[in-house]
Subunit: 214 residues, 2 copies
């Protein structure tokens, strides 16, 4: 039902936002129906844009009525590939790595529909390899490809120091993982068929500084 036309990333970025609004509405208020008006309002987006975004993937609403919350949630999950568990690994078990593992675990346990699960940790530090963290064993990074194959890992979270990031990302690409969430403050190069999302705290902070009246 999708992948035909190329959907813009601006659209894709809003889908998880819509899904979150629907999740909150159905768990907090037990809402059955929602209009593009209200969905847009809660997501911080115009109603017309909500309708247009959804229309890329099909017809999910009823004229005069709105969108059925449960149904639209299911459809969005399917579109985002969140109708199945997706296995994620994390490379670099420093304090940020630890925090993200905890965060993910909490998210996974609380929210039954949050289907992204960290299932493996990697590090190069001999004193860490083989130890456990939050119930997960830390594997040596040199065996990365092997474990990725075995565990069917689809996404890699990279929380290594900036100097190591490009090397690590190269190995991730070698192991056929096509989606990377990079926390290291460097632009990493990857082939065209690999997607890197950058979570660059320092760039965000520096952007905020621009808007300060000093």
């Amino acid at each position: 039902m999708n992948r035909w036309k190329k959907i813009s990333d601006a659209v894709v970025r809003r889908l998880p936002l819509y899904l979150r609004v629907l999740d909150e509405a159905s768990s907090d208020d037990d809402r059955q129906l929602m209009s593009s008006q209200e969905l847009g309002q809660r997501a911080g987006v115009s109603p017309a844009l909500v309708r247009k975004d959804l229309a890329w993937f099909g017809e999910f609403g009823k004229q005069g009525v709105g969108y059925e919350v449960g149904f639209l949630k299911e459809e969005l999950r399917r579109i985002l590939n969140l109708d199945q568990e997706i296995k994620v690994c994390l490379i670099g078990t420093g304090s940020l790595g630890h925090a993200l593992v905890r965060y993910n675990k909490a998210r996974y346990e609380q929210d039954r529909s949050f289907q992204m699960r960290i299932v493996a940790l990697f590090d190069n530090d001999a004193s860490k390899v083989g130890t456990q963290f939050e119930g997960l064993t830390i594997y040596p990074f040199e065996d990365f490809a092997k474990y990725c194959r075995e565990l069917d890992i689809r996404i890699a979270i990279v929380t290594v120091p900036a100097e190591a990031a490009q090397h690590v990302v190269d190995r991730v690409v070698d192991a056929n993982v096509r989606a990377i969430l990079n926390f290291a403050p460097v632009k990493v190069s990857v082939p065209e068929n690999v997607l890197v999302a950058t979570a660059d705290l320092s760039l965000e902070l520096q952007r905020l500084a621009y808007y300060l009246e000093v």
Copy 2:
């Protein structure tokens, strides 16, 4: 030299990226000059866009020559308000909070030009209040406004649980802090004159899932 015309956020987001490229070039290779061509290449942006972005703020290059690295760095720092130390606080000292404090400390110590410093921590947990972390005392969140005034805090990093985020952000706004970096997975509402940057790990992960071939 700026604040006259309204500069688009798309432009502002690229400035820290340019600054980083210049920093790397001057420290790694001791480069004196850089063309928009090369700067764009390294930042992942077209040369025309580099020139256009910079032109919003003045004329920093020389025709036929390029940009003088040291000079452009200084100018970008000034534009981004990074020519002075900016005081940042962090609210919510869970594992993510800890990680960000460490990260910021490392950044601040390594990179002499990274002028954003976390100078205060806040938490509501009585068992944490009064204790130290990385050389910083954890203050009770109820005294937030007082410490903000005393310490001249300009940016707040929010790493509290989702349920607490809106309340915390309201208090931050009350205390006259106008820039917030929010890590809680909720959309928070703020008045028009306050800027919230969202660092929402789970939205990013869900976006990545869309691009997987499952």
